[in-house]
Subunit: 504 residues, 2 copies
Amino acid sequence: MTTSAEQAYNELIATHREIAILGSCESLLGWDERTYMPRGGAEGRSRQVALLSGLVHERFTDKKIGELLSVVEESDLVRDTESDAAANVREIRREYDKQVKLPKELVEEMARITSLAQGVWAEAREKSDFSLFEPKLKEVIDLKKRQAEAYGYDTEPYDALIDDYEPYATVTTISEVFAKLRAELVPLVRAIVESGKRPNMSIIENDFPVNLQEEFGKEAAAAIGFDFNIGRLDVTTHPFCTTIGPGDVRITTRFNPKHLGQALFGIMHEAGHGIYEQGLLDENYGTPLGEALSLGIHESQSRMWENLVGRSKPFWENFYPKAQSKFPSLKGVAFDDFFFAINNVEPSFIRVEADEVTYNLHILLRFEIERDLFREKIKPEDLPSAWNEKFKEFFGITPKNDAEGCLQDIHWSAGLFGYFATYALGNLYASQFFAKAENAIPDLKDNFRRGNFSALKKWLNENIHVYGKKYTAEKLCERVTGKPLSHEPMMDYLKAKFGELYGI
Amino acid sequence: MTTSAEQAYNELIATHREIAILGSCESLLGWDERTYMPRGGAEGRSRQVALLSGLVHERFTDKKIGELLSVVEESDLVRDTESDAAANVREIRREYDKQVKLPKELVEEMARITSLAQGVWAEAREKSDFSLFEPKLKEVIDLKKRQAEAYGYDTEPYDALIDDYEPYATVTTISEVFAKLRAELVPLVRAIVESGKRPNMSIIENDFPVNLQEEFGKEAAAAIGFDFNIGRLDVTTHPFCTTIGPGDVRITTRFNPKHLGQALFGIMHEAGHGIYEQGLLDENYGTPLGEALSLGIHESQSRMWENLVGRSKPFWENFYPKAQSKFPSLKGVAFDDFFFAINNVEPSFIRVEADEVTYNLHILLRFEIERDLFREKIKPEDLPSAWNEKFKEFFGITPKNDAEGCLQDIHWSAGLFGYFATYALGNLYASQFFAKAENAIPDLKDNFRRGNFSALKKWLNENIHVYGKKYTAEKLCERVTGKPLSHEPMMDYLKAKFGELYGI
């Protein structure tokens, strides 16, 4: 290890940390925009964001970073590929190369077109008229193709796009797992529908005063380990989790006074993201080792707390009495009826309202369509028919219009092709990690029954969070569970849980 | 006008605007820190602030700015000293020179020592022991002397310090006006005390539920013209007003459930600051013409709405019935008794709790002491005795300890010497502007009685706000009122109002 390589590494890390701090100011601008900013502040906010993101981009693509990387990469400092330094260098290189490969003109055009496309999409969805959206969608897809070419890819352009959200993942691996999942999931949904059993949904679609929901949601989030000393909860139209800095992780939710589950499970979901962010090590702040691994792994944390914990029997054995004393409308409602209601499975058209079982089908459908769009097996104009055919095949029902079909999500208008897959990957990782945690912590569910979730949180901290981006998702999964990602743990979980609930 | 001067001017303005946008990100960091940031975020926040303020300083002291200024200053572009360009150039030059004159080492030392001094001060105040604070205070004063030398000054070092808060003002002019004010104010306070009349304070020191206070305060702020589409109100320990950008001006307050006046007049005060900021022209954003003139002029706006409007009879002739229907504890309280209670005058030790009349004496006292400290007529160790002597002379009472004497304010520990004067200047400007507005808008008080404050707001917009930093405060005062700043309008106002209330 030469001194100059060490110096170069330290300079690289210091630069990366400073860029991260600049970026974190942008995070606050974003959080504020969605929570408290007065309406009139929008234009000024866009100028602030443009300035900071320009500075971040300028600094990140500075040739100096490339030079420092080259010095370090040729040194002994990264010889041990398992070392922290090697991981930091690998990830900074990855990020640097991606940013440098994108022509400035393409980045600006993408920002311009997707901003327009989102407006057009909103109108098209309102009028439920795909033809309005089609021209702009074509432009977005063409730009994304150019982006994929700029990045480069091994097998197909879609690989390059997925890589933005799920680094190192490939279409080949994902589609293999998804195909197996689909083969078992479609029959499971069918069996549930055919069982004829239905919970009484009026149990959770009733009066739940917002202030009580807020108290209860915060209690639940704190119980599972979201630390309000280094975090907070606010209200937004679209819930999210954002990290402003070490010691400052914020989640949001939206309350429906006529529905208990939406905010509650939303809060547990975002708290799951937040617990991951709070579990990153402060000492690694501003380096790849202090950053969440991928969207898929992030989603595995939110889904685990939302579904595998939050919709489980042991959790409610502890929380249901609390819920009953909080909410008058739950008085006299039997535990089993409540538990069935929060675990209702029902094929429906809208992804964001979907249950734990059918949700994945919504994702598989989008993944297959996106892939076919980018390998030109379907054309943008064929989207509505392709969507509806697949929907019938997966769910047994057909959307009655494009608003509840291929126009429902904002993602494509925003250029987020490759993003959807991470939602299902998250569910798969969640189940696989959770199955391992159950083995590793023998009294896990008894802990839940006593309202104690710290053993699971600690296990996630130690096995996943502290590593940041040290390993790839694939590698982490192997390390933690001893196996590559598989559809089996999730199918085992779903079959056991819903088999019992629906008697199938 | 040569093309290159024009180009230089445009570049100068563009640079200044970009620096302003960077600075506005810092404003959001500051607002968030005091409103919603979780406790754990403090360390990360200080790094964000340090980074951004470093960037702002670096850009503002860039030699390029000096070069651009020189090109423009030698051109025809600024020949007309009344032109917008000339004013912008004058103010950028002023700011640039001040920043460049301060050695980096002094700035850093000041930040370090004042940060320590504030901690020591807090402890000294808690223990009411000036000797604890004295060594650190000496260090701060020595640094401020070095700062004054670095800036340079005509007459005395204190001039250079005042100039940071009240540009172009001098100790000579201020002390002349203050001396006249003092000569009339001390006897007025004495006469009030000797009148023996006292309002029934339990009228406003009663139960005033916080949520109702918030509703009422927002109603009052909106009525006087604070626009909530481009602003908001939050809760903080120490109320303030901050501008995040054009279209985004935020005020804060603190509620006391056992006192109606504190939050209400606090909100009107901050709303006054906010109305000024909202009245700056968006098209001038990021240039000196789009910035508030001085702290004194800013305070004139907040004090006008808080006192000359908010504590006036016409205002309450409209708002008192509303207050009575909002707050059960006001039912059956006669208008005159309520009005007397919100206008109670009483010598007291703590500045921030002082009334409209005695408040100015608190400032005059501090101004005289600060001046004497910097011309070395008193030493730091003599502060407690100097304070107590002057206090007895001004108010007729003596603080029983340093906590309610010379240790009460945070300002000196933070290095804010020269700041206090702007509070009294604000009161003086407020009265002088208001007297002019009353002449210019003949039915002004009738408007107030009808709950209509838009004529006054419009007058302030047109005569003061739109100009930003175009004129110096002195010049603006002459332009608006036809006269230099004087103690007379305020004394006339105080004598008339409190003469009637106290029958003197």
